[in-house]
Amino acid sequence: MFFPEDTARQSVEDVQIEISNCDKYCITYDNFKNKKFYGLIEKPHNRFDVNISGIATSGIDIYEKYTNNPFEFSLLKAQTELTMPGELMTEYHKKLELDTFSGPYYKALYIMNTLPDTFKYTPGVTEVHESAENALALGQGVCQDFAHIMISLLRMEGIPARYVVGMMLGEGSSHAWVEVLCNGYWYGFDPTNRKLVNDEYIRVSCGRDSNDCSVIKGSFYGIVTQKQSETVTVEEI
């Protein structure tokens, strides 16, 4: 499970992690420098809860500086299975005529501002890991789909873009948005809310697409049905 980490934009203090049935866990980082912990529960159990709380100071720097890492640069320019454009995405990309804008920032801004005109926010229509192409075909989806479509378009322009999962003031679950590399900085764009990312946003993890950023993953032995629920509360102090 991922949890927030200090970045140029935010600092995180007083992190408390409580896991039922399990007191042993390890902390590790993935290749996008996301912080996560994992553990093993050997005893039979039919429920397990994770509670994380902490205090984040946000908006320290508005943008995160790009550290000259060619791995990150080239990788975030390459399409993934979920962002790979098909016919519809290619057509949509053509229609936007992004050539008329100079530089990644204005292209990203235009995509963010126009996407909600063609794509509607409707929960429960798309699958957990839906591709940008399929989401666009449906014409509606959630924040994850907005982010995938935007990333796909940017990568078609050869602009490195990453998928970000985080929390937002006033939301009941986790949120997803896009960070775009412009002039040496990562700028945050939230196409779902047509909004530039500001100090109301707390970042948890980032990656190439939603596959890299699942907030929690796990596996168990046993023939049972499973249910998972998630609640996020962000309050200003």
């Binding site: 042993k24 993935d30 050997e42 080239s74 990788l75 320019k77 699942s214 796990g218 596996s219």
Partner: protein, 438 residues
């Protein structure tokens, strides 16, 4: 040799009794099939083997250098030898492996390099298999059984003893072991190569296991024995492909892997043979660059040739491919196992035009190769006549600080006279491979 031919039937019966089988899934059901053994061996002369040994060692060394480079500095990309399009968008490049250095810096411990001999007596590399190459157990056990039927055939013909494979494999596991036992991780009983997993475990003294008996705890890996006691694992010869190895890092739907094994590996607490991420080096698109890699990393010219290959990605090669389309074979780099292979002359006019459009729009997706005229090997057909068939050779190269070529290999042949496909799943058979000591 005649003695072995006479005993051919007995040897095949013994092979079946020992369970030398491979499983295939057809229409959703699992079937086990015998892997037919042909008694006429492929004979490789001593000089020829020395030549192959030199070329294979060099190739595997360069591929190991490439893997270390591509998952760290990527100097070969920075120096413009390989375009970045061939790295980051390739399926085989696994971002979680970036910056992870395996124990003793070895990525490909066991490499299976497929070669063919052409009619003009040249050897060509067909493909590199650096992920989970299988097949070594078949020549091992068939040699063992042949020795029983014809005890002096091997010494009187000066054939190098190939029964040292298990020792070589054990040496490799011990060399990279980080402290603990060696295990062979199999997907289980219904895997196509389960015979091989169990045979290699028996011969190397490693513990044969499936994912269910292994846990990762505090960044270490443990095998849970029959008493429920945990034993530290130092090296895993895993016979599970990368995507199923760790559901927490790769394919989350995998139920045959070990959750978090990648964390233990990343922190240097266990060796994985072969290292995850090797798929980038045996990718069809990267194949083209292997001779350049040998020059780049080792400063040597490649001893063994690639089949002449063209990358439509380069304009010059695209022009060549378009003007020589009918005599080439085109391969889709994303496909494997004989799929996505198109012989230029087999297409109708419309299909050809259609394909050329596709090629032009996605040049990165394809490679084109000259068709190699195989040198055929004789096999014994059902009536006992010697008939020529297409055959290839999988050479096994093991790396434990020193790179060694096993003086044997898996010679596979197609039973169908018109087929080029030697895969065991397509009904092919195998032969012993004799490497002569003088």
């Amino acid at each position: 040799m005649n003695q072995i031919i006479k005993k051919s039937e007995t040897i095949n019966k013994l092979l079946s009794r020992y369970g030398v089988k491979f499983g295939i899934y057809k229409n959703g059901t699992f079937k086990e099939q015998l892997f037919p053994f042909d008694p006429i061996p492929r004979v490789i002369k001593h000089d020829e083997f020395l030549f192959l040994e030199k070329g294979l060692t060099q190739r595997v060394d360069a591929l190991n250098c490439f893997l270390l480079d591509i998952y760290s500095n990527k100097q070969i990309v920075k120096d413009g030898i390989i375009p970045e399009e061939f790295i980051y968008s390739a399926k085989g490049f696994l971002p979680p492996c970036d910056g992870v250095v395996p124990p003793k810096k070895i990525y490909s411990h066991i490499s299976g390099i497929d070669l063919v001999q052409s009619k003009d007596d040249n050897w060509y590399i067909l493909e590199d298999n650096l992920r989970v190459p299988s097949g070594a157990s078949y020549p091992m056990i068939s040699r063992e059984l042949q020795r029983r039927s014809a005890p002096d055939a091997f010494s009187s013909n000066s054939v190098i003893d190939n029964r040292n494979y298990a020792d070589l494999l054990k040496e490799v596991m011990d060399y990279v072991n980080t402290g603990g036992i060696n295990v062979i991780l199999s997907p289980g009983r219904y895997n196509a190569a389960f015979f091989e997993h169990s045979y290699l475990a028996e011969m190397t003294g490693a513990v044969l296991t499936t994912g269910k008996d292994i846990v990762c705890e505090n960044d270490n890996l443990y095998y849970i024995d029959y008493n429920g006691k945990k034993q530290r694992v130092g090296a895993v010869y895993r016979r599970i492909s990368d995507e199923y190895l760790d559901p927490m890092t790769f394919n989350e739907e995998s139920v045959i892997g070990i959750p978090h094994i990648f964390e233990a590996y990343k922190k240097g607490n266990v060796a994985l043979l072969n290292a995850p991420g090797n798929g980038i080096a045996d990718d069809k698109g990267i194949y083209y660059f292997v001779p350049k890699m040998i020059k780049y990393y080792l400063g040597e010219d490649a001893v063994l040739m690639n089949a002449p290959t063209y990358l439509p990605f380069y304009e010059e090669d695209m022009n060549y491919v378009l003007s020589n389309f009918d005599k080439l074979v085109i391969k889709d780099v994303a496909e494997a196992g004989g799929y996505g292979v198109i012989f230029g002359n087999s297409l109708t006019k419309e299909k050809k035009a259609e394909f050329i459009d596709l090629l032009k729009s996605q040049p990165r997706r394809f490679i084109a190769q000259e068709v190699i005229d195989f040198y055929d090997l004789d096999i014994l057909d059902e009536k006992g006549n010697q008939v020529p068939r297409k055959a290839d050779l999988r050479a096994f190269v093991l790396s434990n600080g020193k790179t060694k070529v096993w003086p044997s290999g898996l010679t596979r042949f197609s039973r169908d006279p018109d087929s080029f496909i030697v895969n065991s799943s397509q009904g092919g058979g195998f032969k012993d491979t004799w490497v002569l000591s003088r």
